[in-house]
Amino acid sequence: MVADAVVKLDGLTIRYGKLTAVEDLSLEVAKGGVYALLGRNGSGKSSTVRCVLGQQRPTAGRSRILGFDSWKGRQRAMERVGVVPENPDVPPETTADRIERFMSRVTPFWRSANYFGRLEKFRVPRKQRFSRLSKGQQRQLSLALALAGSPRLLVLDDPTLGLDAVARRKLYEELVGELADRGTTVFLTTHDLTGIEGIADQVGVLKEGTLLVNEPLEVLKARYCRLLWTATEDVSRQRIEAGLQHLGVVKSGANEAVVEKFSEFGFDRFRQEAPVDVTRIDSLSLEEIFIVLCGEERGGRT
């Protein structure tokens, strides 16, 4: 249990008729942390985000943000929550200036200077209709809206969708800078695994609505690695397979294997069982881990 959890999901279940989008999801996001919820398309990420933001009522379970029930206390909670949605939902006919007038009337902690400063920094035109802005500018405007009120929680639903590699990188770099200064908690979903690898503290992976992984990124990355060895003739394949069981083998080939429970103790047991000559132990990138977790061939041979 996380003390001062900014986001807390408890047994969250979301169903659409007979289809279960999210099943018994429980997780907590610590204050000041960056939580990345990952998953393939249709895994239930956006439904989860909608429940977290109080835009959708879960079928079962609870969602709390900033101490408020997401559904019942949405209005209060949103005073200190910034949101960047998956698809920009700023009214297309409006301009940055006009939207500022609206936001300043409904958001108690709104800081116009923050907003305009950010627009200026990223050269987002203030008099142009939102629909005529480039995708990058739309994202920056959405982010400016989300950050102008100095939120305690920032929710980003796939914020880099549609952005090119440079824009993605800039967005994350900029975000890290902002958040480091403010100590804002971030809850995000993304398909840009490389981009968030440097900023996420904690990672959750959803597969078909079920949370497969929920742990600090460093721990996750330490668990997953690829072993490469040189086999000798007197070590049978059966012994190698038996030895790999101590490391939680995910995939294995003739001279390599991906394991998900790597530890010193487990490695010693593997070596005792299968005295092969291990030439390399490679750590996996988040993307590779994600593919291992969510790919179709889990448990197969490489």
Binding site: R50, L53, G54, Q55, Q56, R57, R74, Q75, R76, M78, E79, V81, V83, P85, N87, D89, V90, P91, P92, E93, T94, R98, R101, F102, M103, R105, V106, T107, P108
Partner: protein
């Protein structure tokens, strides 16, 4: 409130381009007088009509458009999360958007109405009759259409199984609305119909407003959930409102004589015991209940109605034992005949299997056993009790203005106007009930086009009053009602009435202007005159007791609200006995009320009717000849 205003301001600005449409419309309205074909009309009138029409059309059109898109559009396009990611309540989102749409509609309507407003400024300032129609057309209807369009838009966009509830709810709404309004329409309760219709519209507006808000607040960004929340709130609210309206409509209609405060007597049974009356009760708007009321006890029978134009719909047998009337229905629909055996201890309305048109002529025999129906030139005579057809005969050509009366159970007498103009004649024809044989018994020629026929209680004599085309000259002749033979010309001025014993009584003006009551036999013998000099505007009512007629005079000629002084005049002795003061006659004597359209006007004296009065509080009072006192029947201030 601040959030609502912020949403409203944002939405108003977002859709402000529609004002350009209003500007285009005002240009069209201004240019309309120059359009081909409109040169014959006053330019101001054309501009006024054009701008009014365009303003209403634009207002309603925008209401439908905004209703369909203002929330449903953003919701289905996934942009509704913008508001719900901000600290804005569902209430603020809903009302902010609705008010913005409404404000835009009003702005557009005002722009289009400018030519009309400027051209009619003086009229608009001096008269306020336009205010309510304008509010309804330019504000209420757009508001309703906006809400309705929004609800339908959400239903169509979501297309969930809740549509079945929506369809079922719509059917229930229409049925309940119709069942609540129709009886009041049938009762010609105009104000009540407006109130119930207004309540239904208000209920619809309230339910749609609540449903829209709940849909937004509960559904948030989820279209199917918005639909389910909207449908549940809409039909739930409407169910409560409709139940209330249906109950109120039922309460308005269902009251009995004991609730009456104002009473209006329509017909009186010949024996005076039963009367057909309209009653109005306190707090029931203009709903009038029509019923048969026994003046002797607390019995009453509801009778459907009223409906316009046929106030004398209940007919009685001469002995007062049977009443017959047409059932409820549309103005042109055939009606089921109902009857009541008034002689029973607990009389009740009985439907028959007989259905007649509203213009069919009906007659009951003296004892109420037989019923004659004259419809489309066919005369049918039935036994009323078992509805057995005794005879049905096709009447000869030209028998289209007929008054049927039963001189006996076995015979039906027809008084028939034939011919047109000055050459018009009155035929007297008897129809034998058992055989259907038509027996002509008399003919009176040269009566002219305007005639009034008054028959005595025994169908023995009649006074035929004919008037010239210009109505200035008139003749009153007495005939035998059996064979039409001429008896004499009535020389005494005034309108005559038959007494129970067959004599005639007339309030007549003397040569010197004085008034007297003249009594004489049909043949003109045994003439007596009793002066009623000094009486202001005396009028003669019926024969309340044998040889005693009711004379009514104004209490105060300068103040008619003081009512009438009612006296009973002994026609033999000329003695006056006071019946009561500050009264009104419950059953105004007006012969034309007893006629049937297109037929002979006729009147059979109903002496008992002259015993009924209304007091100053509107209560129906019955004069008791035995005690000489007035007894309260129904109504009046409690």
């Amino acid at each position: 409130m601040n959030a609502t205003m912020a949403v409203m301001a944002r939405e108003f600005v977002a859709r402000r381009e529609v004002v350009l449409v209003a500007v285009a419309a005002v240009v069209i309205a201004t240019a309309m007088p120059f359009m081909p074909g409109l040169g014959n009309y006053q330019p101001d009138d054309v501009r006024t009509v054009s701008s009014n029409t365009l303003a209403v059309a634009l207002g309603w059109g925008l209401a439908l458009l905004f209703g369909a898109t203002v929330i449903g559009g953003d919701l289905s396009e996934g942009r509704f999360g913008f508001y719900f990611a901000r600290p804005v309540s569902g209430l603020a989102v809903w009302w902010g958007r609705v008010l913005a749409a409404l404000l835009l509609i009003l702005v557009c309507e005002t722009i289009v109405l400018l030519p009309s407003l400027l051209g009619n400024a003086t009229v608009l300032v001096s008269s306020h009759e336009w205010v309510w129609p304008a509010v309804i057309a330019c504000l209420v209807m757009p508001f309703l259409l906006l809400l309705l369009s929004h609800a339908i838009s959400i239903m169509v966009r979501a297309r969930t199984a809740w549509l079945f509830l929506d369809l079922a709810g719509f059917v229930v709404l229409v049925v309940v609305a119709w069942l609540s309004v129709r009886p009041l329409l049938m009762m010609v309760a105009e104000i009540a119909v407006y109130v119930i219709a207004g309540a239904l519209i208000a209920a619809l507006a309230i339910a749609l407003s609540i449903a829209g808000w709940v849909g937004v607040a509960v559904g948030r960004v989820d279209v199917p959930r918005t639909h389910s929340a909207l449908s549940l709130a809409l039909w739930g609210t409407l169910a409560v409102c409709l139940a209330g309206i249906a109950f109120y409509s039922s309460w308005l209609r269902n009251f009995g004589p004991k609730d009456f405060d104002k009473v209006e007597v329509l017909t009186v049974a010949p024996d005076g015991r039963w009367v057909e009356a309209f009653g109005q009760a306190r707090n029931r708007l203009d709903v009038r209940r029509r019923c048969l009321i026994s003046t002797a006890d607390n019995l009453w029978i509801p009778v459907p109605g009223p409906w316009g134009g046929y106030p004398m719909d209940v007919i009685y047998s001469v002995d007062g034992s049977t009443a017959l009337w047409r059932g409820a229905g549309g103005s042109d629909e055939p009606r089921t005949l109902w009857w009541a055996d008034l002689g029973r201890r607990d009389p009740s309305a009985q439907p028959t299997n007989l259905v007649v048109a509203m213009d069919a002529l009906l007659a009951l025999s003296a004892g109420g056993e037989r019923l004659a129906i004259l419809e489309d030139g066919t005369l049918s005579i039935y036994e009323l009790e078992d509805e057995r057809l005794l005879t049905a005969v096709r009447l000869p050509e030209g028998f289209d203005r007929v008054t049927p009366l039963f001189p006996s159970e076995e015979t039906l007498r027809l008084f028939v106007r034939v011919g047109h103009g000055e050459g018009q004649s009155l035929l007297i024809v008897d129809v034998v009930a058992s055989s259907g044989e038509i027996v002509p018994t008399g003919k009176i020629k040269g009566l002219g086009d305007k005639l009034l026929l008054m028959v005595d209680g025994g169908l023995q004599h009649m006074v035929v009053w004919t008037r010239s085309e210009d109505g200035l000259a008139s003749d009153r002749n007495i005939y035998d009602a059996n064979d039409g033979s001429f008896i004499r010309k009535l020389t005494t001025s005034g309108f005559p009435r038959f007494l129970h014993d067959g004599r005639l009584v007339i309030v007549s003006e003397d040569d010197d202007g004085g008034l007297s009551l003249v009594v004489e036999s049909v043949e003109g013998r045994d003439r007596m005159a009793h002066s009623i000099a000094g009486a202001s505007e005396p009028t003669l009512s019926g024969e309340a007791v044998p040889n005693g007629v009711v004379v009514a005079r104004l209490e105060d000629p300068s103040d008619r609200s003081q009512g009438l002084r009612i006296d009973l005049l002994d026609v033999d002795s000329g003695e006056l006995r006071n019946v009561g003061r500050h009264l009104r006659r419950a059953f105004p004597w007006a012969p034309w009320q007893y006629g049937t359209a297109g037929a002979v006007f006729w009147f059979r004296d109903q002496p008992a009717s002259s015993r009924l009065f209304l007091d100053q509080t509107g209560a129906l009072m019955r004069w008791n000849p035995e005690t000489g006192g007035l007894a309260h029947v129904v109504g009046g201030a409690k």
